[in-house]
Amino acid sequence: MALTRATVRKRKELSSPSFFYQPVHSGSAISANDFSVAEVRRILEAADALEKENPLRRATRLAKRRVALLFYESSTRTRTSFELAAKALGADTTLVSSLSSSIEKGESLKDTGITLKALGAECIILRSPYSGAPYLLARATGLPVLNAGDGMAEHPSQALLDLRTMLQFLGIRSSAVGEKTLRGVTIMICGDIRHSRVARSNALLLPRLGAKVILCGPPELLPEVAASLGSGIEINRDFDAALRRSQIVMMLRIQAERLAGLEIDLDDYRGRYQANAERIAAHAPKALVMHPGPIIRGMEITAEVADGPQSAIAQQVHNGVPIRMALVARALSGGEHGGRKGGRR
């Protein structure tokens, strides 16, 4: 872009102090609350359609569009599935991670985003250890930002792929998704709720489809305030009792990297909250067992349960690609899959 007077003037406007008043591109997916129920349905339908589509035709959808993956935290599932999803649609992808980039030299998130945009990125997929970082990146670049996990805050694509997994288990078609779809379904999320972005995004999303969400865990990892996330959420610290009420059980790992000095008696924790074969057989023999990973075998879940017939862990991972295809397509389509138009480019 030539440095014309107009662009200089534009830049002056951009560096105005009201940075935090800059809009977030409507193709972004930063919070599970970004999607209306109708949008959730459209994303699920798009995921179904894209999954079924002929791969060669699918690869023409976003042919040579540029998608950047910006990862400030390690990731296996999310990063790989976002990358495969973007590539499946024909996009060029590039990965920038904190250990191999100028981030190490102290480059800010804002400047990294501006750099990626200048290189032609049209969408940025961000994972950050800092809650809220995707909003900063979205304001700084004006690009659609897909949140691949921000600190303890949210992981909306995970909530969507979890939802897809649940619907498959319950035998509910994507096109049937509405505000009452999960009425009568009780989902327990157990473990380190405090530090979990997966728990937050799921707890924000599922009750909007009619589900009852039970949060379970010790007070250190599940403060009472968690129930304030929304209606349809309750806290029950009795794992067995909660198991008996749940059709779906989602186990979470203890996030050692975010404990910040908190000390947990792990033997006691296992005794109270571990999903093991006896417990599942006794209290939830028909429930679907989920886990967003990474799992710590022998800690929150035993190998028997993780690898057992009730486990949906591999299915969750599998669902990552179609859901993320739908999100990337939505981000770059300017509203085709439900994204509102009018975002700042």
């Binding site: 560096s15 998130l109 800092y130 809220g132 303890m152 949210e154 937050r200 304030s228 000095g261």
Partner: protein
């Protein structure tokens, strides 16, 4: 220095209870006469027509960060005091967390030197301990003689009981208050906002109100052991801490406190989607705490409105919420917020609002002669229109930094002229 005659205004001097039409003559940096309209004859004086405007003592902000020495990219004494003058302030008390920390008489004097180009009187506040490390006291006698009006380790609260007790005793011997930033940092590690449902929802670690109130209660317990001790609680933000101050006051202890405009005007909801211009310490609280601040102001428990003016560069604030520094600018919005929220919304008489910005803060930190229009006082005057509504634009701020949550806000009460020690420090055409 030319004499200045301010004519035709409504003079409000909370120190004397005066609220009437008066003319005011300033000469040689002093107030020389306050008389009925038309009585003062001063043909040599420059005349300021204050018809329809309020004429009050120049405002006093007992809590500002001017960032000099050491962080001129955020603010300088010249720019910070220019912002002060634009906001109607003629006296500001500068916190010692500069680089280096103001823990020597040399730095204290340097900050007050004419070369700094200040537009308002700067009263330095000395570090309570060397380097604000919380270990060894600074030389309070030497700091006072150099011009320091209080001691504090603002931003780095004094946690050790023994050091706080020693500071209260040593300060009492010098007639200085100890100002405490009341935050038990053992409870706030990694926290960037108020504890509660919103922090949980945003995935941010929250500071419990007890981190503030607990330290205020501890300090009050220590103050009881000190003869003539004076504790001043900075930027109080919780009902619990305010209750502790109220109770201590009833017991006859010399405890004073200040509240910032943002803590009576905003709640944590202002953070929205991680807006770091709503990140400060103490953090914005919930509505019940905000309401308690208003109540404390209305019932007289609160001694001063102080801004905690804390400039930061845009590149520092345009960061992830957890990484961005705490603090907002406040000098140019304080009067407009105080009038809008306290006077208009809560019907507090204008004279009482002004008292919290003039005579009472002057009393709290012992700023002799300031905050009053009594003849013989320094010629510090603000002329403003209490009815004028205006929109604050951060981009037009005199401060070097623009980190404010009030950008684009409509405020009420606009400064027209600020006279600092007899010189026009700010004037709006």
């Amino acid at each position: 220095m030319k004499a200045i005659l301010i004519r035709g205004g409504r003079v409000i001097d909370p120190a004397s209870g005066l609220d009437a039409a008066r003319d005011l003559l300033l000469r040689d940096g002093k107030v020389v006469a306050v008389e009925h309209p038309g009585k003062i004859k001063a043909p040599d004086a420059e005349t300021i027509n204050a018809k329809g405007l309020v004429v009050a003592p120049g405002l006093i902000d007992i809590h500002v960060h001017l960032r000099e020495p050491g962080q001129g990219y955020k603010e300088a004494i010249a720019t910070g005091t220019a912002a002060a003058a634009a906001g109607g302030f003629t006296s500001v008390c500068a916190m010692p967390n500069t680089i280096p920390v103001n823990d020597t008489p040399e730095i204290t004097r340097w900050m007050q030197a004419a070369e700094r180009g200040a537009s308002a009187r700067v009263f330095p506040i000395a570090a309570a301990t060397r380097g604000s490390m919380g270990e060894a006291l600074t030389d309070y006698s030497a700091m006072r003689d150099a011009g320091a009006v209080a001691v504090t380790d603002d931003g780095k609260p004094i946690l050790a009981d023994a050091i706080m007790l020693e500071a209260l005793r040593a300060a009492a011997a010098m007639g200085l208050p100890v100002i405490q930033h009341a935050e038990d940092t053992r409870l706030t590690g990694g926290c960037s906002m108020n504890a509660g449902p919103l922090a949980f929802r945003l995935g941010l670690r929250g500071m419990p109100v007890e981190a503030e109130s607990g330290l205020v209660e501890r300090d009050i317990a220590l103050l009881k052991k000190v003869k003539n001790g004076h504790l001043h609680v900075a930027h109080l933000s919780t009902k619990k801490a305010l209750d502790a101050v109220r109770a201590a006051r009833k017991q006859g202890l010399h405890v004073t406190c200040e509240v910032t405009p943002h803590h009576f005007a905003l709640t944590e909801e202002r953070i929205g989607l991680y807006d770091t211009n709503a990140k400060m310490n103490p953090p914005l609280r919930g509505e019940s705490d905000r309401a308690a601040m208003i109540k404390g102001i209305l019932d007289g428990t609160v001694d001063a409105i102080a801004t905690d003016h804390a400039p930061h560069a845009a590149h520092e604030k345009e960061q992830e919420f957890d990484r961005a520094p705490n603090g907002i600018t406040g000098l140019e919005t304080a009067l407009g917020l105080a009038i809008k929220v306290l006077h208009v919304q809560h019907k507090m008489p204008l004279g009482r609002v002004l008292a919290l910005l003039t005579t009472r803060p002057a009393q709290a930190l012992g700023l002799a002669g300031r905050g009053t229009l009594a003849p013989g006082s320094p010629a510090d005057v603000v002329v403003f229109n209490p009815a004028e509504k205006w929109v604050f634009q951060a981009a037009e701020s005199r401060s070097r930094s623009k980190n404010t949550p009030f950008d684009g806000w409509e405020l009420q009460g606009r400064v027209h002229v600020t006279v600092s020690e007899g010189c026009v420090a700010f004037g709006r055409q």
